[in-house]
């Protein structure tokens, strides 16, 4: 395609970027608060990362190096599609290495490699409202946030415990930010929740269809909701990665035949590949060149 010249750098016009940057700044100033913004139609469908794409577009400068992941992987089709979109419209450098990226757009994961100061992590958010499935009306949930009325959420968690003996939320696990707003961390597994807190990177959340942006500034407090006698616990499959032997990374389960055989592999493809390059080989892994 040779149509870059027809569009502005990173697709959006400068006026729109300014509007989005204002929303981002407001979000950073009020951690966890959902800032309404005039989301634009993007050339990919709503629900496919349009919020994240707009936030990324508003953050990118020509010197940036972009990484895009979906489910932790750089090579999932939608990650490929979004990465290509920015290569085409912004011409920025891209990378798969977490440590080398200046901006990382993600769907459903936080990279295993700890982020550093100066990095921006952009989340794609389907439903930004943590109270949405308890109260469908936006007019009501906004009021609940204003009044810091999170009783309904605690009742839900309590009911989980009385019914299942534990909090039955495995992903999209709500956090309380800086002692004020309850925030939806997007559908990351709760395994990733501890990485939200005290993170050195700026974490920005974009929900395109729902027209909301929110943020966690570096080193923010983000506490996963729980009870004293039922504390939050991050969980993952009780295995090590079969390719790189990592004992502590989030794993995908892969069904390998119709006899019930399965293997577990890192969901973070960059993390897994770097470990194999460094000589960590799991029971089903093969050594990788380079390093």
């Amino acid at each position: 395609m040779t149509d870059q010249t027809a569009y502005n750098f990173a697709y959006l016009d400068e006026q729109t970027k300014r509007m989005i940057r204002r929303a981002i700044l407001k979000g950073v100033a009020i951690p966890g608060y959902q800032v309404p913004f005039a989301s634009r139609e993007m050339p990919m469908p709503y629900g496919w990362g349009t919020g994240g794409v707009q936030v990324t577009a508003a953050c990118l400068v020509p010197e940036d190096r972009l990484k895009v992941i979906d489910q932790g992987a750089d090579d999932t089709t939608n990650a490929v599609s979004i990465r290509r979109f920015f290569q085409r419209t912004a011409g920025v450098a891209v990378t798969e290495a977490t440590a080398e990226a200046t901006v990382i757009q993600t769907r459903h994961r936080i990279p295993e490699t700890p982020l550093t100061e100066g990095q921006i992590l952009v989340y794609q958010v389907p439903i930004p409202e943590p109270l949405r499935f308890l109260e469908p009306r936006e007019t009501e949930t906004r009021k609940m946030h204003e009044l810091e009325d999170y009783g309904l959420m605690h009742v839900k968690l309590y009911e989980d415990i009385s019914r299942h003996g534990q909090i039955a939320t495995a992903y999209d696990y709500p956090v309380k930010v800086e002692g004020r707003y309850v925030m939806d961390p997007s559908p990351i597994p709760k395994f990733d929740n501890p990485k939200l807190a005290g993170n050195a990177a700026i974490q920005l959340f974009g929900a395109g269809r729902e027209q909301r942006i929110y943020a966690l500034p570096p080193y923010s407090e983000a506490i996963s909701l729980d009870f004293d006698d039922y504390p939050f616990a991050a969980s993952k499959a009780d295995h090590a990665c079969d390719l790189c032997a990592a004992p502590d990374s989030y794993l995908d389960e892969v069904i390998t035949d119709d006899q019930g055989s399965r293997m577990f592999v890192c969901s973070d493809t960059d993390f897994c590949a770097s470990r194999r390059k460094a000589g960590h080989i799991g029971p089903m892994g093969t050594p990788m060149a380079g390093g």
């Binding site: 469908p45 489910q71 999932t76 939608n78 007019t139 999209d172 969901s267 897994c272």
Partner: protein, 360 residues
């Protein structure tokens, strides 16, 4: 065995190439031109312009071709293009009373100034397949008559002379633009009308239909339905007066609704309003019914809990581009969330089974 596959990029390229081939279809059949679509599938073009919120028949026809006839996909193409266009200014309010009429009917008066003009309508055709169309052939020219130069005033303005119908508020305030600012509930009527006119035809139709079946009944008559072209004028600051910059085809529908009065309003007729790009009368009529149903609060009517009275429900779910995107996104990978659920269900099962055994 699983080896971290890197097939995404190749797969996407191959899928796009295959799609392009499927779009073209059998190459022994002549390719459809954009002009043919514009001329011969004009009602599809109109729908794409209306819901795409962009009046450009050529681009709409191109979008239909590119989308292989999937109108929601075509609307999406138009929206994504429209959003990149700069705003140069706003037109002066359109004078639909000055419309060059191709169709104009009233269901409330047998005859009226300006007359009833049936126009090019399917209304009284018998829906029998015309097999002659399967063969190619010319169409005999339709009879013509000289255009009437009589004024065609709005039916509601005639009713209003006797104070029988509610007077609508007028104002010079710039209406809000839902494509430039996030929609906040509660909204105002101009914003509601804007959302409904670009809303999905099927959704608006069903909402309107539900009011006819008793869910928020408003007893609507089609006071007037008119279709035709209207001049678009813009004030040019350097000139100090407005100039015509073009014309658009519009469908306008005003319903006249029975109203027995409320605590705040005397008995009089009230109206619902529909205005849509192109010849799109199903949408315009549906729009006017939904508009009227949403006005319950302003008119002091009871909220019966009907879906069509619920502004947040109607406006948040009317946009087919938002709806189709979010609906279809569930086909994207969800391995990570699903894995988390899998672990949770396994854990809950383990505990439930252990609990069962302990109880035995």
């Amino acid at each position: 065995m699983y080896v971290a596959v890197k097939g995404g990029e190749k797969a996407i390229d191959a899928a796009h190439a295959w799609l392009a081939e499927e779009r073209r279809g059998d190459t022994s059949v002549a390719e459809l031109s954009v002009a043919q679509i514009r001329q011969q599938l004009a009602l599809a073009v109109n729908r794409v312009m209306a819901e795409g919120s962009l009046y450009d028949p050529d681009l709409a026809a191109l979008a239909i071709k590119q989308a292989r006839g999937d109108l929601i996909e075509a609307i999406f193409l138009i929206r994504a293009y429209r959003t990149t266009l700069p705003r140069l200014g706003a037109s002066t309010p359109l004078e639909t009373a000055q419309m060059a009429i191709t169709r104009r009917i009233s269901a409330t008066f047998k005859d009226l100034p300006g007359g009833q003009i049936l126009g090019p309508t399917f209304d009284y055709t018998h829906r029998l397949l015309d097999f002659k169309l399967a063969a190619e052939g010319g169409v005999p020219p339709a009879p013509t008559a000289p255009a009437s130069l009589d004024a065609v005033p709005h039916v509601t303005s005639l009713l209003n002379r006797d104070g029988l119908i509610q007077t609508e508020a007028e104002g010079n305030a710039t209406p809000p633009d839902l494509t430039r600012e996030p929609m906040e509930i509660p909204t105002t009527r101009p914003l509601r009308l804007q959302a409904i006119t670009r809303g999905d035809e099927g959704f608006i139709l069903s909402m309107a239909y539900s009011t006819q079946r008793g869910y928020g009944r408003t007893h609507a008559f089609v006071g007037e339905l008119r279709i035709g072209t209207v001049a678009v004028e813009m004030e040019i600051p350097e000139l100090g007066f407005s100039v015509e910059i073009g014309e658009v085809e519009l469908t306008e529908c005003e319903t006249v609704n029975q109203f027995k009065g409320s605590k705040t309003e005397p008995p009089q007729f009230t109206r619902g309003y529909g205005l849509v790009f192109g010849q799109t009368e199903r949408k315009a009529i549906a729009m006017s019914l939904v508009d009227r149903a949403l006005r319950w609060k302003e008119l002091g009517e009871d909220n019966t809990g009907a879906p069509a009275q619920d502004e947040e429900f109607v406006l948040m779910h009317a946009d087919n581009i938002q709806a189709t995107g979010f609906l279809e996104h569930i086909k994207l990978p969800h391995y990570v969330d699903f894995q988390a659920e899998l672990e949770l269900v396994r854990k809950l099962r383990r505990e439930a089974l252990a609990h069962g055994e302990a109880a035995e």
